[in-house]
């Protein structure tokens, strides 16, 4: 039961981490505003499901587009003008963009916490002693499926090839006719869309509040770090590992330990395997 719950959250973390990795791979920026994109996705879900009463299906289709556009707009307006600056400026920008977006949410929506209904309220399934809710199955399967689609787009489609070329060698990719501008916008769109989906899946069980933004960016970062920031596969497994570790800690140690365990994981990975557990390529010596 713990395993199932852990896998559910893990799949959501994977989705969030994938977005971070996609953006990092293409633009070398670790996006600290990612949690805010997840929050935006969850809030948009609330809008579609609760405020407009359209149900969940439109949310799964529309939310990624909305958050993707939001992410692309953020890149266009704030990050593109300073693309030439150092990492300090870029990363600090994303930190404050994230806080700023959460602030906008807080100002628009004064309530502490918004909720959306469970997409599958039906009776849980019993397998021996294990109780599994349909929601858990749906979120796990849906999030993993979305992740795989994301990986497939990045890995195989023409757009993915351009992004990977960009990641490997900006100048080379430009010479081959890929435009940095459109590739960056695409990467941010794709990353934002993945974050939005994470928001849709997270909204029913995690609730919608500025807290979601911070907890999701931390979880996404830790999961991405487990994968070494450059490996999509690593981010996928990183999210699941983190989800399991957190739920196990909450179940067998104490609920206050959930945060601690993700930090512990981060520390272990950073100190012992800074290149991640799933390093994708050797760093070239220059």
């Amino acid at each position: 039961m713990v395993v199932v719950g852990g896998l559910k959250f893990g799949a959501i973390y994977s989705l969030a981490a994938l977005g971070i990795v996609v953006i990092h791979k293409a633009t070398r920026i670790v996006n600290f505003a990612h949690g805010a994109f997840v929050l935006a996705g969850a809030y948009a879900t609330y809008g579609i499901v609760e405020a407009m009463g359209l149900g969940y299906w439109p949310a799964y289709l529309l939310v990624p587009i909305v958050t993707g556009l939001l992410a692309a707009a953020v890149e266009l307006v704030t990050l593109r003008p300073i693309r030439q600056s150092d990492m300090f400026a870029l990363i600090t920008s994303t930190i404050f963009i994230g806080i700023g977006l959460s602030e906008v949410y807080r100002l628009v929506q004064n309530t502490e916490m918004l909720g959306v209904p469970n997409p599958f309220p039906g009776r849980p399934i019993f397998i021996g002693d294990v109780i599994i809710t349909k929601e858990q199955i749906w979120v796990f399967a849906g999030a993993i499926l979305s992740s795989l689609i994301g990986v497939a787009i990045f890995g195989y489609a023409r757009l993915g090839r351009g992004l990977r070329a960009m990641a490997a060698n900006v100048r080379g990719a430009m010479l081959c006719g890929y435009s940095t501008d459109s590739m960056n916008a695409l990467a941010w769109f794709l990353g934002g869309a993945l974050a939005g989906l994470a928001g849709v899946f997270a909204a029913p069980s995690k609730g919608i509040s500025p807290e979601l933004s911070i907890s999701m960016v931390t979880a996404g970062f830790v999961a991405a770090a487990i994968g070494g920031f450059d490996s999509l596969r690593g981010a996928l497994f990183g999210g699941l590992i983190l989800g399991l570790a957190e739920t196990f800690a909450a179940a067998y140690v104490s609920s206050a330990m959930t945060n601690a365990i993700s930090f512990l994981l981060l520390f272990i990975v950073l100190l012992w395997r800074p290149e991640g557990l799933f390093p994708e390529a050797k760093i070239r010596d220059v």
Partner: protein, 608 residues
């Protein structure tokens, strides 16, 4: 001269004086404003501390809230639970902050940018969790009541008294940071933030410097936290959360990254902005975010500095480059060779080879970049190293200067093995270098670039030299004189105060040479000194190098693709190809050597 001396001292004292003046002027206001100003002053101290870490070392830290909490609780707990006098508790809290900064930095400085930010965030969260959970000591989430400070029996409960005390303490606390940042320590931080590898080649130990920066700045932040805590009456973990950390990060960014002033003004103003803009209080966080992102996007030097540089830029634009100005023959003999040179004196007596490489090998994965290279360079000689791209020349340089450990083989300087000598120490053994891509510290002035080249850059030396710089002692003036002489020697005397980034490429190469010779090294490694510069400029650089070699007796090893330049400069040339020395000998003979021509003109496949 004494006038100048005063100015150096006044510049360093000014931030403290400003803090004190604000406190004194505040005495004329009502108690509410005295309260606001006291908070503002302690935030100014926090901002000043952050200037070191954020503006100079360009580290993203999200642990400021935790450091403030450590100071606040570190001072309050001894006062409340053990009746320790406020003064002693303040000292204890500051020491605790320094210790916390040190502990955070030990794992933290292994990382940069996003990973460092994340490690500081972890630290921040852990501190808050600990404060919340140790209920017996800290009162948990409800917090703890902090009594007004009592010093020598005088209670500073009154707003006016408190403001004065706060001003006095913060003025004192800002002083050491101001001294460090204005002096060589601050310049070293800027240097390592702009180019770590180059900084290391000139003896700046990046790790030590970042640890020191974290320690100093955390100590001051904890101090500010301890001083301001009594004013809040009750302190709780929530007031020192992640958001506090992030908004304090905004202080130096919005205020300006150019000097300590940015942090001080930024902190002083931004902390009390919610009080000043009461009607907008709800939007203040959003305004902060917009200001930071806007500043980073449009005024990367900070809002305040944007106004300053706008004025200064018009001045630098008018000064011309050394290469376009009428060429003045460099004069080295005068000042530079008068400077003490133990190294040179030693060399006169010994006829050992200056540099010996014994069977050096290095592989990167499957690529064997250097395969068993042995090389001997005679003292005071000009030795060329040529070979096609990818022959392993720069790798060899990186092994000699210590950036890359060889897989096997030994490097000796004047017969002394460099096996166990880290990069940062090699400059003290008389080794200096220039880089393939002119690696000057763009944001520092030419003079500061060259002063870093002196290699007196350990943390301790940086700190003592910063103090010396504030007092403008004899010693620091001698250093400045040596640096100016080196600049004049390469023809850049007139550009001493200009930022290195404003120089032309040819002039940046000159600056690199000045930086390389100022420490009076025994040997200089020059990696493609004339790549990308004009023919005339190459000719002048050649004259300059020959003169330096002759007058200072410096051995030089030169990598260059410009064969004409290399042949006219060097007596001996070694030719490398595919990681091995293909041939070595007299310069002219090498160029006509058929093997060399073969390697260079790429007819190898056809020949084999």
């Amino acid at each position: 001269m004494s006038n100048k001396r005063w100015r150096a001292l006044a510049g360093t004292l000014a931030p403290s004086a400003a803090v004190l003046v604000v406190a004194v002027l505040g005495l004329a206001l009502d108690t509410y404003w005295q309260y606001v100003l006291a908070i503002s002053i302690s935030a100014a101290a926090t901002g000043g501390a952050l200037a070191m870490l954020v503006s100079y070392a360009r580290c993203i830290t999200i642990a400021t809230g935790a450091m403030l909490a450590i100071g606040a609780y570190g001072a309050a707990i001894p006062v409340v639970w053990a009746g320790v006098p406020f003064g002693a508790a303040l000292v204890f809290a500051t020491a605790l902050g320094a210790l916390a900064g040190f502990i955070l930095a030990i794992p933290g400085v292994r990382f940069r940018s996003h990973n460092l930010a994340m490690v500081t965030l972890v630290f921040q969260s852990v501190v808050i969790i600990v404060l919340r959970e140790s209920k017996a000591l800290t009162g948990g989430a409800e917090g703890i009541h902090v009594p007004p400070p009592v010093i020598f029996g005088i209670s500073f409960a009154d707003d006016a008294y408190f403001l004065l005390l706060c001003g006095l303490l913060c003025a004192l606390a800002v002083l050491p940071i101001a001294v460090l940042l204005a002096g060589p320590f601050g310049k070293n931080l800027r240097a390592l933030a702009s180019n770590e590898n180059t900084a290391r080649a000139f003896g700046i130990n990046v790790r030590h410097h970042l640890i020191a920066a974290f320690t100093f700045s955390s100590a001051l932040i904890a101090f500010a936290g301890a001083v301001s805590a009594p004013r809040f009456r009750i302190i709780d973990p929530d007031s020192y959360g992640v958001l506090t950390s992030i908004f304090t990060l905004a202080y130096p960014i919005i205020g300006g990254m150019g000097s300590i002033w940015g942090g001080i003004v930024g902190g002083g103003v931004l902390r009390v902005l919610p009080e000043l803009l009461r009607p907008l209080a709800d939007y203040i966080e959003l305004i902060f975010c917009v200001l930071v992102v806007g500043t980073l996007t449009f005024f990367p030097e900070g809002l305040a500095s944007a106004l300053w540089t706008g004025r200064r830029r018009s001045r630098t634009a008018t000064s011309s480059s050394a290469s376009t100005r009428e060429w003045q023959a460099p004069r080295i003999a005068t000042s530079l060779s008068e400077a003490e040179s133990v190294a040179a004196a030693e060399d006169e007596t010994s006829e050992r080879p200056m540099l010996e490489l014994h069977d050096i090998s290095k592989a990167f994965g499957a690529l064997r970049a250097v395969k068993g290279v042995s090389l001997t360079v005679a003292p005071r000689s000009l030795h060329g190293l040529m070979g096609p791209n990818g022959a392993g020349k720069t790798t060899l340089f990186n092994i000699v200067s210590g950036f890359i450990p060889p897989d096997s083989g030994r490097v000796l300087i004047s017969g002394m093995s460099l096996d166990k000598v880290p990069i940062e120490r090699r400059i003290r053994l008389g080794m200096s270098r220039t880089f393939q891509h002119a690696a000057v510290f763009h944001r520092l002035s030419c003079l500061d670039n060259v002063m870093i080249g002196l290699g007196r850059n350990s943390v301790l030396q940086g700190a003592t030299r910063s103090l010396a710089a504030a007092l403008d002692t004899e010693e620091i003036r001698a250093e400045r004189y040596a640096a100016l002489s080196a600049l004049e020697a390469v023809g850049l005397g007139a550009r001493a105060q200009d930022a290195a980034g404003t120089l032309s490429l040819g002039d940046q190469r000159r600056l690199e040479i000045a930086r390389a010779i100022v420490s009076r090294p025994r040997i200089i490694l020059l990696d493609e000194p004339v790549s990308g510069v004009s023919v005339e400029e190459a000719q002048r650089l050649r004259e300059l190098l020959v003169m330096i070699n002759r007058e200072l007796g410096v051995t030089m090893v030169v990598i260059e693709h410009n064969i004409g330049f290399l042949v006219s400069l060097c007596q001996r040339i070694s030719v490398m190809t595919e990681g091995q020395i293909l041939a070595e000998g007299d310069a002219a003979a090498m160029v006509s050597d058929p093997r060399v021509r073969l390697a260079y003109f790429g007819e190898r496949e056809a020949a084999e």
